[in-house]
Amino acid sequence: MKNFISDLFDLFTGDGMKHYLKSLKYSLYMILHPFDGAWDLIHENRGSMAAAHTIVILALLTRLWDKRFSSFMVNRTRWSEINILMELATVLVPLFIWVLANWCLTTLMDGKGRFRDIYMATAYSFTPYVLIGIPMIFVSNVVTMEEGVFYTYFNTFALIWCVFLILCAMMMIHDYGLLKGLGSSIMSVAGMAIIIFVILLFFSLISDAVAYFISLYKEISLRAS
């Protein structure tokens, strides 16, 4: 027990914690200096996986909070029809597939980034969404409907910023030029579509197969009896 407490204490005061906080703070630098930021994130070891996870979790929370707390004037969420796990999945699954598709593709196109690099850079790119999204939830509650366009504008701006950051980051971590960076990203999106298609195909085939065996079993058991 004593050991655990001291461990915990170390966690919050030790070097690990310091590095974590520093890497988290680095996201602020990265969103303003997309090229340098992304390069140093990977190559200078400025980022950490812990910080990346934190940002992803914050982004997920922002999404949920936005649905829950923003004013009904700008928010058509019907909570009785919301499944929080599905909401989380709609962010996490595309994120994972994106990282996977990008990694598969860039490995073939001699990209320098590893799987965790791609994940980390993408996660760090979510920072503007969190930074703008959370204040906007407050703002939406003190504006009228005409002023509500600010909410929409800023959130759209945040998303565009995020996409821009992801594109820059992909160029930097794979050590690509502009064209190759853009091209690989677009192809990754196509790759995502293919992966989703394969997954769906797989599931439908499996369910067909299962249904076949179930009907086979039924047939035999009925014959036997």
Binding site: F72, M73, R78, V142, T144, M145, E146, G148
Partner: protein, 600 residues
């Protein structure tokens, strides 16, 4: 032992009460509205069925209606177009029931005007599949001014019909023709007394004719049945569809004018005029929904000359559709659906003289996107000016389930408009009636497919007997259903009336009364909220608007509320702002000072 029996008995009672009563339509309700989310929400009945009439309810002479297509109400008179029986039944609404006035099979014409009634070179007095009837108030003076008064005079005598297969019937009609001559030459009002005795015979005559009728044969001449003599200053217009004409007669059925054979370069050479539903405005212009015409309503002037089309809806083809057509082969293109303007299926006149039209040829996608407008209000230019401010477009059902034989969106076939601009649309798909207010909010929907009271199989016409009574004609079952506004419906009507005259506070009182009947009535919350907003009770108003997610009104209330709050707490706000600006500077200074002290 006794105790045990008692316990058993009590248990038994408990079990009995616990068993749910088996009611077929436990989860179905009759009247409903749609909430913000598009969910059907149960509502107390706003209209309830008070009576159902069959053809026979009007009198034995009438028999059964056969595919009645149209209906019209003016004051207390009801006209039913009994289409397949080639007649129009006129009845008077007295004390909640109908008394037969007359059955119209034929019209009269003066010797001078007889050329008007030429159909295929025969002077045709009989009606052939009348689709619609329209009656306007017209006294002698006004008629003279508009049309001249030369439609009377020496009356044309129809030739005595050539011997018919049944000699008895031939005699019957023969006799009647004589009577008719007498009736029309001297003023018909006088002659009616003498005719009374013959009415019974006429009735039998009519019955016999009904059954043995084939569509191809020309309609046999049949004497009108007059049950009751009324003296009204009306003009009757009849769309005599299969005779390709619209007849304009005075109340005694003497023809004044005829609309036929429209001539225009837009019409094809072989165009045959089949007028169906139509209205006539107060200067005598006709607006006619015509079979096979999709360019809008045909407008005729009071003399029956075709002038123009009204209200043609522009064809909208999306870019994708256009591209798709480009890559199709010619054969494919011919087979795909043609992009044509929507064809109207009915037309109605509101108390202010605006035209309302309905159409049912829209796709579900069009309806959902709001480009499909199944009910429209046309101004003089033919533009759609219906207000659609509700959460959902006035398209009838917003959500529906397709079952075996009832599929697709609501199909509006008729509309009736009240004085306060509430309009009720008749849906032929599910036999429902949808009533909207002047802003396009759904007030209530009711009805269903079926043969129960208040349900319809193939409703074709809706009209109002008075401001509180709706009347619906079902073609398939040949019934006429009377609906009366309930207390709940009356409250809604009152609230809207008061709002329209500007008495907002009284209106809100009525709306809160409505909420006692139905706590799910969204419009009532808005109504109450609006009044609270006017009384500067912003917070309460906001709460009301938030319940029904009325963003526009909520925003209005919130704007004032925010102003109020800022004014009230201006000092606090200033303090916070100052603190926010000054505090970081102070802290920074302190830190610097401490650093300097440390370094020193």
């Amino acid at each position: 032992m006794k105790k045990r029996i008692l316990t058993l008995l009590i248990l038994f009672c408990l079990v009995i009460t616990g068993i749910p009563s088996a009611k077929a339509d436990d989860d179905e309700w009759y009247t409903y509205t749609y909430n913000y989310w598009g969910d059907e929400t149960a509502s107390p009945d706003s209209y309830s069925v008070t009576n159902i009439f069959y053809g026979r309810s009007f009198g034995e002479e009438v028999g059964t209606f056969n595919d009645a297509e149209g209906m019209f109400v003016i004051d207390d008179l009801l006209y039913v177009c009994d289409t397949k029986n080639n007649r129009i039944v006129e009845a008077q609404y007295v004390d909640g029931t109908f008394e037969l006035v007359r059955i119209i099979y034929t019209v009269n014409v003066s010797e001078k005007n007889k050329e008007m009634l030429l159909v295929d070179d025969n002077i045709t007095l009989t009606l052939h599949s009348p689709y619609d009837v329209h009656v306007v108030k017209m006294d002698e003076e006004k008629r003279e001014k508009m049309f001249g008064s030369d439609h009377l005079g020496k009356m044309y005598e129809p030739p005595i019909p050539t011997p018919t297969p049944e000699p008895e019937e031939g005699e019957g009609t023969d006799e009647n023709a004589d009577a008719d001559k007498a009736a029309t030459t001297s003023d018909s009002e006088e002659a009616d007394d003498g005719e009374d005795g013959e009415d019974g015979e006429d009735g039998e005559d009519g019955e016999a004719g009904e059954t043995g009728e084939a569509a191809e044969k020309p309609v046999e001449y049949k004497e009108n049945v007059v049950k009751k003599t009324l003296d009204r200053d009306y003009d009757i217009y009849i769309s005599d569809t299969e005779n390709n004409r619209i007849l304009h007669c005075d109340y005694n059925l003497n023809v004044i004018g005829v609309v036929k054979d429209p001539k225009d370069e837009t019409l094809k050479e072989d165009f045959v005029f089949f007028p169906e539903k139509f209205v006539v405005d107060d200067v005598g212009r006709y607006y006619v929904q015509t079979r096979n015409i999709n360019a809008g309503l045909m407008e005729f002037n009071k003399g029956g000359v075709f002038t123009t089309y009204v209200g043609a809806s522009p064809v909208t083809i999306s870019l994708a559709q256009r591209l798709w057509r480009r890559i199709q082969t010619k054969k494919q293109r011919d087979r795909t659906k043609q992009y044509v303007p929507t064809e109207y299926n009915n037309v109605a006149l509101d108390p202010e003289g605006f035209l309302y039209v309905t159409t049912s040829t829209l796709t579900e996608a069009e309806l959902a996107a709001g480009n499909g407008k199944p009910v429209r209000k046309l101004n003089a230019m033919g533009q759609d000016i219906l207000i659609r401010n509700g959460h959902h477009f006035p398209i009838g059902d917003v959500e529906w389930e397709d079952v075996e034989n009832i599929k697709g969106a609501s199909a509006f076939v008729d509309v009736v408009i009240y004085e306060n601009e509430i309009y009720c649309c008749l849906d032929a798909t599910r036999g429902r009636i949808f009533c909207y207010d002047f802003q396009g909010n759904l007030l209530y929907a009711f009805g269903n497919y079926g043969v129960k009271a208040g349900c319809f199989v193939n409703p074709v016409a809706i009209d109002k007997l008075d401001e509180k009574t709706l009347i619906v004609l079902d073609k398939k079952t040949g019934t006429i259903t009377l609906f009366t506004l309930s207390d709940f419906g009356t409250l809604i009507k009152d609230a809207i009336d008061l709002y329209r005259v500007g008495d907002y506070d009284a209106s809100a009182d009525v709306w809160s009364e409505v909420l006692k009947y139905n706590g799910n009535y969204d419009l009532a919350y808005v109504g109450v909220g609006r009044a609270l907003l006017r009384q500067e009770k912003y917070k309460e108003a906001m709460d009301k608007f938030e319940v029904v997610r009325d963003a526009t009104n909520y925003s209005k209330a919130f704007k004032h509320y925010r102003e109020e709050q800022v004014e009230k707490h201006i000092v606090l706000f200033l303090v916070i702002i100052i603190v926010l600006i000054v505090l970081p500077k102070v802290i920074r200074k302190v830190i610097r000072l401490r650093k300097e002290i440390k370094e020193a």
